[in-house]
């Protein structure tokens, strides 16, 4: 069952650095200047302005070995598109994904196969992500059948081990998905993702469709599996409390662009961008006596179709925007404001300038 090839981790020389990247990181996945633009209209026979929906626009980050990287933002911010790009479900318009320091688009065929085996996914909705006509044995065993030369007997043994590992009973391998509850189905999805001994698992809202009492079970299972197998996770979530619990590093996205990124605790302890503060202030408290200062940004999330050429956040800021300022006409970069904590800094993006800093206080003695 050794499908993974041991590789030196010093191949990082080929990966360029970028704003928002911690140079000391032991990255297993590096994403650089990733873009996904969908053409939605305009232009004719090469004339005229083409109009693009910029779902992901110049996103760079590293996923470190054995750690969790979280992507947060509201719907339409490009977090799920980024995850699909990593999984190869979408083809990037521009930019590069590096796996173990190697560009996946120029990899050898063997390298690509290894990349595909090493990066797996668990999806949000365990009702629609499992084929209702396949038994659990077939669902979990399918990747092994396709990607390995294991015999039926070996696969059967491996499926039993996997089910054990995710907290299911091996005898349940003969059942169909509809015979399971939501939490159990998500466990089946996790077992399938683990089948090929991956190094990275992309988690797309893995608990948001589950019952409250089941969420902690699944989150704890994911944390345990990470420790046992040294897995790296890319977690896409909209719930900030889940991100704080699960993630080592994170990025806050708005309209396809990373607005703030860095170590999770650094961001929660000192959120700098107005948008990050707005998200935190809107998040629900964990106790009725926690009264957070709450502010709402003017307007609603604007369409990612044909966004402004400059700072995408400038239409939502409560501060005044100088239309002649450089960052109103050109995309501003992430700036390292404290070690390992990056933010898009413009005269209208910093929460401290607006007096809108949110302090996350916990109740004493609770």
């Amino acid at each position: 069952m050794t499908t993974t090839v041991e590789k030196s981790t010093t191949g990082r020389g080929t990966v360029p650095s970028a704003p928002g990247i911690n140079p000391g990181a032991d990255a297993i996945i590096s994403i650089r200047n990733l873009r996904k633009w969908y053409r939605v209209g305009g232009g004719f026979l090469g004339f005229g302005k083409k109009i693009y929906l910029k779902a992901v626009d110049d996103v760079s980050f590293d996923i470190e070995r054995g750690k969790t990287f979280g992507l947060v933002g509201e719907s339409g911010c490009g977090k799920t598109t980024t995850l699909k790009l990593l999984l190869g479900l979408e083809v990037p318009t521009a930019g590069t994904i590096y796996y173990e320091g190697e560009d996946v688009t120029t990899m050898s065929k063997a390298g690509r196969t290894e990349f595909r085996r090493s990066v797996q996914a668990v999806f949000q909705d365990p009702w629609s992500s499992l084929n209702p006509r396949m038994r659990v044995r077939a669902i979990v065993g399918e990747p092994l059948e396709i990607a390995t030369t294991m015999t039926k007997k070996e696969i059967s043994g491996r499926v039993s081990d996997l089910l054990n590992e995710v907290g299911l009973n091996p005898y349940q391998a003969n059942l169909y998905p509809h015979e399971f509850s939501g939490g159990q189905r998500q466990r089946i999805g996790i077992a399938r993702a683990l089948a090929l001994n991956p190094k990275v698992i992309a988690l797309d809202e893995p608990v948001s469709a589950l019952d409250v009492s089941i969420r902690a079970q699944i989150m704890n299972l994911l944390v345990d599996l990470q420790e046992q197998h040294g897995l790296a996770y890319l977690l896409v979530a909209h719930n900030l409390a889940t991100v704080r619990y699960m993630c080592h590093d994170m990025a806050v996205m708005y309209l396809g662009v990373v607005q703030e990124s860095g170590e999770t605790e650094a961001i929660f302890n000192n959120p700098m961008h107005i948008y990050t503060n707005a998200l935190i202030s809107a998040a629900l408290p964990s106790h009725p006596d926690i009264q957070r200062e709450e502010f709402l940004l003017p307007g609603e999330v604007v369409s990612p179709i044909d966004p402004p050429p400059g700072d995408v956040f400038m239409t939502r800021t409560p501060l005044e925007v100088d239309p002649n300022h450089r960052w109103a006409n050109e995309r501003p970069p992430l700036v390292e404001k404290e070690p390992g904590h990056w933010v898009v800094e413009t005269p209208w993006s910093m929460a401290a300038d607006a007096g809108l800093r949110v302090e996350l206080k916990n109740l004493e003695g609770v």
């Binding site: 159990q184 409250v212 009492s213 079970q217 409390a241 964990s286």
Partner: protein
């Protein structure tokens, strides 16, 4: 130096207050009166299925006062949504039947009314805001028609008076430029705006009770925050009682005055929101609150509830939480159906040795079998 920057920031903040809604204490104190507007007594709603009778709501009792928000929390299958539909008499039948109990709204038992009388009450004295605004609105009618329909039925308004009332309702839910928006169709509005329109229909006839069935589940966090604030503002302006159905303890912490925790069709704990968070008694309540990660601090490993929510057509005869309880008890002790007991003033707990750790302290309150 530090002081001067602070004042500068304060000034900026004051200057900004026109553009950004800054709310320092979250919400104002709600004005709850002692007047009970809705009383539910021993409500039982059963469904006939091929696996047997499902007791979706199995003897639920509570009351709601004017201006109060009662949270009903539970997981899927706990009966929280069926409770709401039962109040509106909207349980699909067959297979569902309200087999017992009373729903007393403003002194009248809704379960005794004829279907015609109930139509007048529905959307009039009591209205409901559903989870998915796209499904609650008809895509082929514009907003004016849909808000107007409810007003026409319940208040008999026509022409200019109807139009003014429609615009007024849209204004109440803070829809910008209501005169123009009223002509729009649902697909032309964002998710948050659609949910506001549903809210406008809900409040248009000045109901005594609004049932909000997970109204923000499909919304983004910032839109959710704005919507919750709006509901609270409307409540203060109109003095309406809200029954807020949710699975999210964050919403409970933010919105509710009192909370009923439901499990397997029954209320297992009912108390003031601070009591629920500070001194939960039932193991299920404790576990639910404890198993949610906190935004305010990085927590260690989350405590988790073992097992799965029960199947309603195959409930254990006594305490339905017993199979998931970590307490020590004998099988006989879990067999008796636990009664809902008032252990302290206004703090009700479904009392049993299998689900309440401090059972011995309150055992003397148990009614005789």
């Amino acid at each position: 130096m530090a002081e001067s920057t602070e004042t500068a920031v304060e000034e900026k903040k004051a200057a900004l207050s026109d553009t950004v809604a800054v709310d320092t204490d979250g919400f104002g104190v709600s004005a709850i009166s002692d007047e009970v507007v809705l009383e539910v007594k021993n409500l039982q709603t059963h469904f006939t299925t091929r696996w047997g009778t499902v007791k979706a709501v199995d003897g639920v009792s509570y009351n709601v006062r004017r201006g109060e928000t009662l949270g009903i929390v539970g997981e899927s299958g706990s009966g929280k949504s069926v409770t709401a539909l039962s109040l509106m008499r909207l349980v699909p039948s067959p297979p569902g039947h309200i087999v017992g109990g009373e729903v007393i709204l403003n002194g009248r038992n809704l379960l005794d009314l004829s279907e015609g009388e109930m139509t007048a009450v529905r959307g009039g004295e009591i209205s409901i805001i559903l989870q998915d605004p796209m499904q609650a609105l008809n895509p082929v009618f514009n907003i004016q028609n849909q808000v107007g329909e409810a007003i026409k039925i319940h208040q008999g308004l026509k022409g200019q008076a109807l139009w003014e009332k429609v615009v007024d309702s849209l204004r109440k839910v803070r829809i910008p430029a209501p005169e123009i928006r009223a002509k729009d169709y649902p697909h032309q509005l964002s998710g948050g705006m659609r949910q506001r329109v549903v809210g406008a229909i809900g409040i248009s006839s000045a109901p005594s009770v609004i049932i909000a069935d997970e109204p923000t589940t499909s919304l983004d966090v910032t839109i959710q925050a704005a919507y919750l604030r709006l509901l609270r503002q409307i409540q203060q302006e109109e003095g309406v009682a809200i029954v807020f159905i949710t699975h999210d303890f964050g919403i409970v912490a933010k919105m509710c005055d009192r909370v009923a925790v439901m499990y397997a069709g029954r209320i297992v704990e009912l108390a003031d929101v601070r009591t629920i968070f500070n001194e939960p008694m039932h193991e299920y309540t404790k576990a639910l609150i404890g198993s949610v990660p906190k935004l305010e601090e990085k927590t260690g490993r989350l405590p988790q509830i073992e097992g799965q929510p029960p199947l309603l057509y195959n409930l254990p005869p006594g305490d339905s939480f017993a199979p998931r309880s970590q307490l020590e008890f004998t099988p006989e002790e879990a067999e008796r159906r636990p009664p809902l007991v008032e252990i302290k003033t206004d703090h009700w707990v479904q009392l049993s040795r299998s689900s309440v750790a401090e059972y011995d302290k309150y055992a003397h309150l148990m009614p005789a079998e």
